[in-house]
């Protein structure tokens, strides 16, 4: 007698647990596959030897001392914003507004440089600039958080809109400060260097990298060992559990998002005072969005974020090197980043789920 069963060919189940080393292998495979695909894409377009292409990419970051420092600087800035969005993220608050919060911070910082100039001693001016940047980052972040905490307003869309409000605010200020209508703010105080972050060891970016390194360590400790870090992860896992054990959910949301905004403000400060000494609407340069991916790829672990932001910065630098060597458009770095992200995003499936194929039926 045959009893027919209709078992599907593929059956997907959720994994309870996957050994960390296996998960690591899956992720490494994904990155390799992604590099292969991206390489294939470039080779198809340029007709070059793939090894040559990778060698060229490597040159983009390591051929000169200066290029290496640019890589470090780019990594640090990306990492700083990634660290900023992480606590909010861990609480499942989708802060897509880092771009705007960085701009708000940078704008406040620029305003201080523009209006105070050299009326104050430099150390005092820099302290005021830091305070102003942090405060405006907090304000820009806390508005959506306030409505989220009280009325559960969709924070993804809210923070997204706040970005463009910030962009227009920056354009507004630039138009106010530059009366000739060019819309470009020249480098501020270039003769007096008022409000410029000092250069240490003759490396312009040394202090930037150092500050971000300190934030990384502090953030790791904060998330892992502090009471605050524990509370926000409980709220992220289940708001009901949090309420049940007596956590004031509203307070945690506001506090965590404020922290997120504050660090965004710091990155705005570093980008203006420690890097460009001016502001444009492209100050964050899309890093507000890329940072979300960096944080998510690292599973909210600040030390792994160092690696993921380094990977992405390396790819971007490498891709622009290829673009300039072979007279192609610079945007190829966005394409490569996109391909890598797709693979890494996709590989999570194989870590979280198990695919069971239909077994051969016993006769």
């Amino acid at each position: 007698m045959h009893e027919k069963t209709h078992e599907p060919l593929i059956h997907i189940t959720k994994r309870a647990f996957l050994e960390p080393w296996k998960a690591l292998i899956v992720r490494i495979c994904a990155v390799l596959l992604a590099l292969l695909t991206a390489g294939l894409f470039i080779v198809l377009l340029t007709g070059l030897n793939p090894l040559e292409v990778y060698a060229e990419m490597f040159k983009g970051s390591f051929s000169t001392n200066r290029k290496f420092w640019i890589l470090l600087q780019k990594t640090a800035m990306l990492l700083c914003i990634a660290l900023a969005v992480t606590p909010a993220f861990k609480m499942k608050f989708w802060n897509l507004g880092a771009e705007g919060q960085v701009l708000a911070g940078g704008l406040a910082c620029t305003a201080c440089m523009f209006y105070l100039k050299d009326s104050l001693p430099n150390w005092l001016l820099i302290l005021i600039m830091i305070a102003a940047s942090v405060l405006s980052g907090i304000i820009w972040a806390i508005i959506p958080a306030f409505f989220k905490a009280n009325w559960n307003t969709n924070e993804t869309l809210f923070t997204l809109m706040m970005n463009y409000a910030a962009i227009q605010l920056v354009s507004f200020c630039i138009a106010k400060w530059v009366p000739n209508g060019s819309g470009v703010l020249p480098i501020l105080n270039s003769s007096t260097k008022a409000g410029w972050l000092p250069t240490l060891f003759e490396k312009q970016y040394f202090l930037n990298v150092l500050i971000v390194a300190v934030i990384t360590v502090v953030m790791y400790v904060y998330l892992k060992y502090s009471k605050h870090g524990y509370e926000l992860s409980v709220v992220g896992e289940s708001q009901n559990t949090a309420k049940y054990i007596g956590i004031n959910v509203k307070k945690i949301i506001l506090r965590t998002v404020a922290l997120s905004g504050a660090i965004c403000g710091v990155s705005g400060f570093l980008l203006v005072s420690g890097t460009g000494h001016t502001i444009s609407t492209g100050l964050a340069g899309g890093n507000g969005f890329t940072a979300i991916l960096v944080s998510w790829l690292a599973k909210f672990n600040p030390f792994i974020m160092v690696l993921t932001s380094l990977l992405i910065s390396f790819l971007q630098r490498g891709a622009s090197q290829i673009a300039s060597s072979y007279q192609m458009d610079d945007s190829i770095s966005d394409i490569v980043t996109g391909i890598i992200l797709f693979f890494i995003i996709g590989c999570e499936f194989f870590i979280n789920y198990k695919i069971n194929f239909r077994k051969k039926e016993d006769k």
Partner: protein, 327 residues
């Protein structure tokens, strides 16, 4: 005065049309519970697919046929943007990846594709100069022959290329399908509660795939409209700007209703350019006025979340992946 007003209205419609395509596409997508933040990238790809195919066609022939120009570029824009949303669908529906992260990655990727090919297309063919697809641009801009004879009315409402009217038709059809048909009812069920829809025998995966891919293709037409009808068959990197995000904003402003999106898009289009029509504004005032669409959207978002009227809220499962065995 009346002429200025007429000009303003027609300019608002022109500005609003790409937004309308993007918004209707995103509404259709979000109705299935997928928050596709890749829409800005998809719209870039829609535009560049049209440009690439149009360029190859115009380069291959001495006298481009306007109908062929339109068919070729329209099809490639649809295919290009549908492929983009297929990437999104595969990652979020089949592989259950996080929708926000996937969408943002898709936007990065799509804008990269647009700017890369826009910037290096001529180089690939060994040509120099800049992209100027005049024949295709003219084909898209062609309006009814008698429109200019109808005076102000004709100028204000009938002087547009065909894609402007298609956008309105698409929005009305989308509204009809979502609200009046069984397919639409099922789609809304999938977006509100996929588990319930699944239990009722609706193929959740199929609905999510189809609505996301069709929605993406519609959004891609916005990019196509922009490159051919609006700027006449040329390409500037980042020329499309942040209109994609504005389209996402309209979805909220229109409360997930395609018919309201028509009016909302023209309103946002008007807000986008009204500073040109108000005399005596300084440059800084203009920038402040451009902030209006975003502020208005934020206010709508806040009001709907405070009032919590059921029919004005986003689909309940928006942003969440569905896995049947999850409790």
């Amino acid at each position: 005065m009346l002429t200025t007003l007429a000009h303003f209205i027609s300019a608002s419609i022109i500005q609003g049309t790409p937004l309308l395509y993007g918004a209707v596409g995103e509404i259709l997508t979000e109705k299935s519970g997928n928050l596709n933040l890749g829409i800005p990238g998809i719209m870039y790809v829609g535009g560049i697919s049209g440009i690439i195919s149009g360029y190859i066609y115009e380069r291959s022939t001495q006298a481009p046929n306007p109908y062929l120009c339109i068919i070729i570029t329209l099809l490639s824009a649809l295919i290009g943007s549908a492929l983009m949303s297929l990437i999104y669908s595969f990652l979020t529906i089949t592989l259950r990846a996080n929708q926000n992260v996937t969408g943002l990655a898709l936007t990065t990727f799509g804008i990269g594709i647009g700017n890369f090919f826009g910037g290096s297309l001529l180089g690939f063919f060994g040509d120099s100069g800049s992209i100027a697809l005049n024949a295709t641009g003219a084909a898209y801009k062609a309006s009814l022959p008698f429109a200019s004879k109808l005076g102000l009315f004709g100028e204000t409402f009938l002087s547009f290329g065909f894609l402007t009217y298609v956008a309105v038709v698409v929005a009305i059809i989308a509204s009809y399908i979502i609200n009046k048909t069984k397919v639409g009812l099922n789609l809304r069920a999938v977006g509100e509660s996929p588990a319930t829809a699944d239990a009722a025998g609706i193929n959740v995966t199929l609905y999510k795939y189809v609505s996301t891919v069709v929605g993406g293709a519609i959004a891609g037409l916005g990019g196509l409209y922009f490159v051919f009808d609006y700027i006449g068959g040329t390409w500037t990197n980042n020329g499309f700007g942040d209109r994609g995000w504005l389209a996402v904003a309209i979805v909220i402003f229109a409360l997930w209703k395609p018919k309201s999106a028509i009016f909302s898009s023209y309103l946002f289009g008007g807000l986008y350019i009204c500073c040109v029509y108000i005399p005596g504004l300084t440059n800084s005032d203009k920038e402040l006025i451009k902030m209006a669409p975003y502020i208005v959207t934020i206010v709508v978002l806040i009001l709907t979340s405070i009032k919590k009227k059921r029919e004005n809220l986003p689909p309940a499962s928006l942003g969440l992946s569905y896995f049947r065995e999850e409790r």
